[in-house]
Amino acid sequence: ESQSSSSTSTFDFKSYVLEKASSVNTALDSVISLQSPKTIHDSMRYSLLAGGKRVRPMLCLAACELVGGDQSVAMPCACAVEMIHTMSLVHDDLPCMDNDDLRRGKPTNHKVFGENVAVLAGDALLALAFEHIATKTKNVSSDRVVRAIVELAKCIGAEGLVAGQVVDICSEGDSSVGLEQLEYIHVHKTAVLLEGSVVLGAIVGGGCDEDVEKLRKFARCIGLLFQVVDDILDVTKSSEELGKTAGKDLVADKTTYPKLIGIEKSREFAKKLNMEAQEQLVGFDVDKAAPLVALANYIAYRDN
């Protein structure tokens, strides 16, 4: 595996990931205190602090630092994108949606707290994400914070995560789903929020429009890459390794990249996306770009 290019050879990605995840976890832990009603806040914390890899917050912080911002100015945005990611998982797992019992190896939110609380906890996380950015972002001009809020709103709604889930639900069991529709689903279910994470970080970090757009393209590529690799892993790995119900997409007769173009072509596509992503980082400070280069490689070559 061509893990390292010359620019990343001296960069310790593993420590970087651990360090960022740890600061994000500390920040997230302090966001939701145990207020009344306790059950809703327990439920929000249960899913938010369930130990995800914090890929989105990390992208947000790395993009902020890449354009010259301090990590602290992007931390509220980093927490917000994780809240949005979490709320979309909580709602997608509901019985009336994907009906999943397991998430990250643990019972899903509605299994523990009931469907009504899961719906409300998701709604509350969504609202909290906006409140958190609006009230906790420090040392950033109001116009940049407002821009970040619009970006985040677009990621979630009928132009973003929701659109992906709607088309996904509507194409379930439909064997005529083509590559274009599959890509629409993945771009909207996964790529837009990864894109949003990067763009939010670049905006509050003080990036110019050109830098923001380059990073947007970078994120779009790795977003799709994330899903292509996910599809490949779903066919090649067992449930235990993945910590979720494997092969579920095939059982539910969902269209996946391997099903449409085969495993080999899917792998080639993943490689192409990774290259395209990394091309966007040319011209930035090599040391500051190292985390994003490594992150792209991690997404491309991860095995869970």
């Binding site: 939701i32 207020q35 009344s36 009603p37 059950t39 809703i40 806040h41 929000m44 709320m87 979309s88 709602h91 509901l94 009336c96 949606m97 009931g114 469907e115 009504n116 609380v117 719906v119 409300l120 906890a121 998701g122 709604d123 509350a124 969504l126 609202a127 909290l128 906006f130 409140e131 609006a134 009230t135 001009s141 109001s142 116009d143 914070v145 407002v146 809020i149 619009v150 985040l152 709103a153 677009k154 979630i156 709604g157 009928a158 995560l161 929701v162 659109a163 889930q165 709607v166 088309v167 639900i169 509507c170």
Partner: protein
């Protein structure tokens, strides 16, 4: 006082605003791919005969403080979007399990539970997006928009309307006051406060609008409960689920509470008397909430 004796045609003021708000909401949610979700969103947001009480309160509060109503419209629309979102989610089978709303099938009855959840999920962010992209920047500085967004997010969040809905479902009968405050008072409070924020109200004015809006929101619901209870005794029908103040404390006590809320809401407006006639919409709004002296919409 002079205010209480001045006649004001609230019905015309309100109906005019309803028409404008309906147009703006219609424009804000245009059907595009994937159509189902936009249709589900439009179904609830553009429901015929909606009173648009939160938007109207927001516009009236903004105008009270000398703000331009064009500055308040986007936030007024956003309030209606997030309000619709929480009503859609409240009606779900796993919540109040209400098959109808305002005399027509509820959202999930038509579009399915999955689409209803997603329609709500899409309406919350659309509200925030709408405020930012439609508020004229020449009229409202960005730092005010941030306060408006934080206010709405807090109102619908885990200590606001979501908390009210949770206690409505899981709390005992003694949680009825909390449910009233959170599920209904919160929206009134948020609407009045947002209008004030847009117009650049002082902190003291915001606090008064906060108490005023909350009192009117709760008053509105208590009177709804009383009217519903009177209908109920006639043909023994009633809305399923939901905690009613009347059913816990009785009609007489509820009427007492309503009068107390009416007085409290008006007291909060006292310090605004210097604004003269601009105070009339908010003042008349209180009496409407209590008396329902005319009907709105079709």
């Amino acid at each position: 006082t002079s205010i209480s004796t001045t006649h004001f045609d609230l019905k015309t003021y309100w109906s005019t605003l309803i028409a404008e708000i309906d147009d703006k909401l219609d424009e804000a949610i245009q059907v595009q791919y994937p159509n189902q979700i936009y249709e589900a969103m439009r179904y609830s947001v553009l429901a015929q005969g909606a009173k648009r009480a939160p938007p109207v309160m927001c516009v009236a509060a903004c105008e009270l403080l000398g703000g331009d109503r064009r500055a308040a419209f986007p936030t007024a629309c956003a309030l209606e979007m997030v309000h619709a979102a929480s009503l859609i989610h409240d009606d779900l089978p796993c919540m109040d399990d209400d098959p109808s709303r305002r005399g027509r099938p509820s959202n999930h009855t038509i579009y399915g539970t999955d689409m209803a959840i997603l329609a709500g999920d899409a309406l919350f962010p659309l509200g925030f997006q709408h405020i930012v992209s439609h508020t004229p920047s020449s009229l409202v500085p960005e730092d005010r928009l941030l306060r408006v967004i934080a206010e709405i997010a807090r109102a619908v969040g885990s200590t606001g309307m979501a908390a009210g809905q949770f206690l409505d479902l899981e709390g005992g009968p003694n949680s009825v006051e909390f449910v009233l405050e959170k599920k209904y008072g919160e929206m009134g409070e948020c609407s009045a406060v947002c209008g004030g924020l847009i117009a650049g109200a002082t902190d003291d004015e915001i606090e008064r609008l906060r108490k005023y809006g909350r009192a009117v929101g709760v008053l509105y619901q208590v009177v709804d409960d009383v009217l519903e209870e009177k209908m109920r005794s006639e043909d023994e029908k009633g809305k399923k689920g939901g905690k009613s103040y009347v059913r816990v404390y009785g009609v007489e006590k509820a009427m007492e509470v309503a009068e107390d809320l009416r007085a409290r809401a008006k007291t909060e407006l006292d310090s605004f008397e210097k604004y003269g006639e601009r105070l009339l919409p908010l003042y008349s709004f209180v009496d409407y909430a209590a008396d329902r002296s005319f009907s709105l919409g079709g």
